[in-house]
Symmetry: C2
Subunit: 84 residues, 2 copies
DNA sequence: ATAATATTTAGATATTTGTCTAAATACCTA
DNA sequence: TAGGTATTTAGACAAATATCTAAATATTAT
């Protein structure tokens, strides 16, 4: 739960998730959407990956990232329980 | 949204919310539940308050804190939209 | 094999964060 | 009003975080 909230606690990372919601994208395509260096984006992607919010797949020389929404269920449940 | 995720991104603060879910408590009662100094808890409460996740009310020499779950709806919506 | 492109790793740095102790403020009671 | 209790504010400090540039790695194309 800690890794999840940590990963969500950054505007850039939340925007990355919103990008990946539309469609899968390569690391470079994601980086192009921000005014942030590629290494920094790579680091954000790593944090999202550790939280299991995204997965990655090597596609030739590219690395394609996909969102994994199922883990968000955990956050939803935590919040819903708190509301009850 | 930023303040909200920031406030939720700390185990102590999440535990405080869980305590307040049961019932309203004074700052001192909350502090007693943790091995953390009162000033630190006061700081956490301030962060929760700025995020509108709790409200406080002076009760004589005590300050009683209550959870505000309605703001959690925003987080829920953000997550649900991401899942769609 | 070489060069070009895509991505990650390493190392540095400034900022933010969580924590502490000491001091200030607010309220209550004798 | 003086003294005690509850809470917050101020200031310091270590650890975590987001960012950068430079270098390393992996893949593709000539």
């Amino acid at each position: 739960m800690n890794l999840l909230f940590k990963a969500l606690n950054d505007d850039t990372r939340r925007q990355i998730l919103e990008l990946l919601k539309e469609k899968d994208r390569t690391a470079g395509e994601i980086a192009d959407a921000f005014n942030i260096s590629k290494p920094s984006i790579s680091h954000h992607l790593d944090i999202l990956k550790r939280a299991d919010l995204v997965s990655s797949k090597k596609k030739g020389q590219f690395v394609e990232y996909s969102i994994n929404t199922s883990i968000l269920e955990d956050v939803l449940q935590w919040i819903i329980t708190l509301k009850k």
